[in-house]
């Protein structure tokens, strides 16, 4: 069984209920467990870490302050000062995605963001927020998002069509980008891990050569750390850009 786990690169994405064998709507699965772990880890940094409110911060508080200032400057930079009303939302998103990606890199863990339904739910939440806030704030003027100014009337239908397609494809690209990055990275790591076990089992010569895929795993893990952070950042900054559209729909 253990050998099969190590080799099968898809096994890590299986969702298994922690009790019973049927997955219902409220079933607590390994995915649910890691969602709870992610939220607990974020809370450890952001709530427990800041509980002393020290003037000179300790390690956890520094981490909390750095996260705060990083996301705050991202939001302010891409969505303007008005975008700060969405700061808690973007911050929660960024931290959830980042911690899911990072915790998923630890062996034997489950990566919450490697499930398309999770990333799609986030993307739908973002686009839903954009539409609801845009309509609430600007009414029909929000539709100007699809009608750029200064375009000749002949071209207008095509431009509007392109704008609508680009708007509709946003949640898809946003969710698939994160999901595919996580999925591909974890599969690659697992495949190289499988090479190591296979080569070690196949003989002395290949056993010595198994150092090569092992080195590749080390490099890939470092690369995946970068990807984990980068994808969380990309998710957050694109959220800011889309929210900026809701705040200022006139381009």
């Amino acid at each position: 069984m253990a050998a099969e786990n190590a080799i099968d690169p898809i096994h890590q994405f299986n969702i298994v209920p922690l009790s019973g064998d049927h997955v219902g709507a409220l079933t607590f699965t390994n995915a649910s467990l890691f969602m709870v772990i992610v939220v607990a880890a974020i809370s450890l940094v952001m709530v427990f870490g800041t509980s002393s409110k020290a003037l000179v911060p300790g390690r956890l508080q520094s981490l909390a302050e750095m996260s705060y200032e990083f996301v705050a400057s991202t939001v302010r930079g891409s969505a303007g000062h008005e975008g700060m009303r969405f700061f808690p939302f973007v911050f929660s998103l960024f931290m959830f995605v980042l911690f899911s990606n990072l915790i998923g890199l630890i062996p034997y863990t489950f990566t919450v963001t490697s499930q398309i339904i999770v990333t799609f739910a986030f993307a739908a939440l973002v686009i839903g927020t954009v539409i609801v806030y845009g309509v609430m704030r600007h009414g029909s003027h929000f539709l100007h998002l699809f009608v750029p100014s200064g375009v000749s009337p002949i071209l207008m239908p095509f431009i509007v069509l392109i704008e609508v397609i680009s708007f509709v494809s946003r949640p898809i690209s946003l969710s698939v980008r994160l999901f595919a990055n996580m999925l591909a990275g974890h599969i690659t790591l697992k495949v190289f891990g499988g090479f190591v076990t296979l080569m070690l089992g196949a003989g002395a010569l290949t056993g010595i050569a198994s150092i090569l895929p092992l080195a590749a795993i080390v490099l890939l893990t470092a690369f995946e750390l970068l990807v984990a952070f980068l994808q969380a950042y990309v998710f957050a900054i694109l959220t800011c850009v889309y929210l900026n559209d809701a705040i200022h729909p006139g381009h």
Partner: protein, 182 residues
Amino acid sequence: MAEALAQTTGTQVPAGAPHEGGAFPPFDATTFSSQLVWLAITFGALYYLMSKVALPRVAGILETRQAKISGDLDAATAMQAKAAEAGAAYDKTLADAKARAQATAQQMRDKLAGEADVKRKALEAELNAKLDAAEKQVSAMKAQAMTNVGAIATEAASAIVAQITGRTPDAAQISAAIAKNG
């Protein structure tokens, strides 16, 4: 064990192949409802914790620190101004004290010079007076001596006359003669 090995060698080569015994897990729709429910619960809790507790707290910490830093900087600037002021006051006090010391020394010098002058003048006057008195005494003594000389001359003249003539001459005549020649 043999079965497991056969299975692994089979699945290892086509790495991206669909997982046997069910759909590819991320696309398995039967798990979607559970994931969505738990995502809503956990993300909702996270959003609540962040927006109500953590973020206001961090904002407060950063604000407090900013206020403390700018307050400290202001205090430092004020202290510096105070120090400069104290330095200026010290310089002024020093200059004043120097001027006062010079004035006092000048005054003292003037006073001592004046006193010495007065003393010198008094001494001069006294000496002059003494000189005058001495002169007067000398002249008085001279006059007295002259009168004594007259008496001696009279006496000598009467003695001489008595020796020569053998008779006692009239004293009044001799005095008159001496006064006439003398």
